[in-house]
């Protein structure tokens, strides 16, 4: 069974990488199974062009999956937007490398300056507030990197193994597949899990799920399959999921996954 997202390398380029806020982000990256590589100026050294070159060299060497880059490196006027210089260099050299800019200027004129001055319009670059929760940082990185993982963890007890087309119920170190979820039922659950992984609040519209249904009334057929999925996972977890648990029907618009609380 594949570990979710194994092997993702995230490079953090920040002069405050030992700050409490970045330690929390690094801890969250580790819990996601991602490796964090930190590039920061040597203590007592300036964060000038030398550091800029060192950061670019490290990207060349390490080839990370994404870069978490600070905008502001110190209070000196030349360093206030040093991150934007590094950003434009990265975009020029590796236009497909996802970059999440870590800044307090997610809105307003400074962001506009950054966007206009540094970016090609289709570059995979996004801005996030330094005060954002580590969970939000992970969500943005997942979307920037773009590809779905081979296995999607849904909370702590359910794992969707996309390559083996199986849903596992995890109990401590042990895991067992819920064998009743196969074929169309697996596809429905995978679609719900992949959407939840990308954005936990996003619901999957009926129209997207009805292609995995058949019969004269695809909506009714979908409803039956959803109930069967909830029953199968509930049975494997020795529990029963009510109408507002695991898979929610949102005001006749579609379904949304809600991972069970452990």
């Amino acid at each position: 069974m594949a570990r979710a997202n194994s092997g993702r390398k995230i490079m953090i380029v920040d002069d405050e990488s030992e700050s409490a806020i970045l330690r929390a982000v690094r801890r969250r990256l580790a819990s996601e199974g991602w490796e964090a590589l930190v590039i920061q100026p040597a203590p007592g050294h300036s964060v000038g062009e030398e550091f800029e070159a060192a950061a670019l060299w490290s990207i060349e060497e390490e080839r990370p999956d994404a870069v978490l880059l600070d905008v502001r490196f110190g209070e000196h006027r030349d360093d206030q937007f040093r991150g934007l210089n590094i950003l434009s260099e990265i975009v020029e050299k590796w236009p497909k490398l996802p970059i999440l800019m870590f800044t307090q200027y997610t809105q307003g004129p400074d962001r506009e300056t950054a966007v206009q001055g540094s970016l090609q319009w289709d570059a995979p670059v996004d801005f996030i507030d330094k005060l954002a929760s580590p969970d939000e940082v992970i969500l943005r990185l997942r979307r920037l990197i773009g590809t779905s993982p081979e296995s999607i963890p849904v909370g702590e007890q359910i794992l969707v193994d996309v390559s083996a087309r199986l849903v596992y119920i995890v109990n401590g170190e042990a895991s067992a597949p819920a064998l009743d979820i196969q074929g169309m039922k697996f596809e429905i659950f995978r679609e719900l899990a992949a959407t939840w992984y990308r954005s936990p609040g996003e619901l999957v519209a009926f129209s997207r799920l009805e292609r995995y249904s058949d019969g004269e009334d695809p909506r009714a057929s979908l409803r039956v399959r959803i109930r069967e999925i909830k029953d199968a996972i509930g049975k494997a977890m020795n529990t029963h999921f009510g109408p507002s648990e695991l898979i929610l029907n949102v005001r006749d618009q579609g379904y949304r996954l809600v991972p069970p609380k452990s």
Partner: protein
């Protein structure tokens, strides 16, 4: 005098930070030294007083520095009062925002460290401590939103503000905001669901900062007042796109709805109680919507049965013709 102001700003910041640390430490220190509830009070009061005194000193130092700077400026600068006032005020608040951002990031970081340490420690985390940490985490985005509100208000009232159109993907804006508030809502046992109809709504030409600011304000309110659910729905027609933010909260009385978008109005104004918010959020949101050629309206039901809810509808022009007129 000017030489004195810089250390005053710094000392004020340190005192305010000390006050916040006292408030954060209250349950831990109180529990160690006192066995009864009122034992917590002295440190809370000291923390509160230090916080207010520190922020007061820092703000006074800023105002003093600004006053001295203006006095020392040549007379000619006073000949364009409106523009220079707006520009100076905006720069002043950006600086203020930046300087307050740093201690705030430290507090947020320390809170996350503390949570990690407590989670790693054997045994269950005390519920009171957990509530306190959750409260600090919840107040952080509130604080940022307040600072941004003030900056947007200054920009909005500047005589030279223009409304720049850019290509924007509204689905992506909603997704970002939902991500930010999903964890905040889930800590309070509430749910956020969002969707777009059609699923691929595509690009519109609008001011992305304005959309993000308006919807952030609406979702922030909805999460605060919802009982259990918040829904954000994005739809469109050939000329406009619409964002509906719905919550199943207790609803707003008819007598209050007409004042909801007034500048500085909060329900406490009517009850002559202390205000719990600035009352600027919805005023700014509607002003931004109207300046962008759209509107923001509200519909609410405060009946005591299960149907009570509040829904805000933001409508903005898609400006699809801007694509052909050479907007970047």
């Amino acid at each position: 005098m000017t030489r004195l102001l810089t250390p005053t700003k710094f000392i004020g910041g340190v005192i305010a930070l000390g006050g916040l640390v006292c408030i954060i430490l209250t349950p831990f220190v109180g529990k160690s030294f006192f066995d009864f509830l009122w034992g917590l009070e002295p440190l809370t009061y000291i923390g509160g007083i230090l916080l207010i005194a520190g922020l007061g000193a820092a703000a006074a130092a800023y105002a003093g520095a600004e006053w001295i700077r203006r006095r020392s400026e040549p007379e000619s600068n006073n000949q364009r009062p409106e523009h220079s006032w707006s520009e100076t005020t905006l720069q002043y608040f950006q600086l203020f925002d930046h300087d307050l951002g740093r201690p705030l990031r430290r507090i947020a970081g320390k809170e996350r460290e503390l949570r990690a340490v407590l989670q790693a420690a054997p045994g269950e985390m005390d519920d009171g401590v957990k509530d306190l940490l959750d409260e600090i985490e919840r107040q952080t985005p509130n604080f940022r939103l307040m600072m941004t509100n003030i900056q947007v208000l200054i920009e909005l009232e500047s005589p030279e503000t223009d409304n720049q159109l850019q290509p924007v993907e509204p689905v992506e804006v909603i997704r970002r905001i939902a991500d930010r508030y999903t964890s905040v809502a889930s800590e309070a046992d509430k749910e956020i669901s969002w969707w777009s109809e059609p699923a691929e709504l595509g690009l519109v030409y609008a001011n992305s900062n304005a959309i993000e600011h308006i919807v952030t304000n609406l979702v922030d309110n909805a999460v605060r007042f919802a009982d259990t659910h918040v829904e954000v729905k994005l739809t469109n027609n050939p000329s406009h796109f619409f964002i509906r933010v719905w919550d199943d909260g207790p609803g707003i009385g008819r007598q209050y709805v007409q004042h909801l978008f007034d500048r500085g109005w909060t329900p406490e104004v009517v009850r002559r109680e202390e205000k719990s918010s600035s009352g600027l959020g919805l005023f700014i949101a509607r002003s931004l919507a109207r300046r962008s050629g759209g509107d923001l309206t509200v519909e609410s039901d405060d009946s005591p049965d299960g149907e009570h809810h509040t829904a805000f509808l933001l409508s903005l022009p898609s400006n699809l013709e801007a694509q052909h007129n050479g907007v970047r």
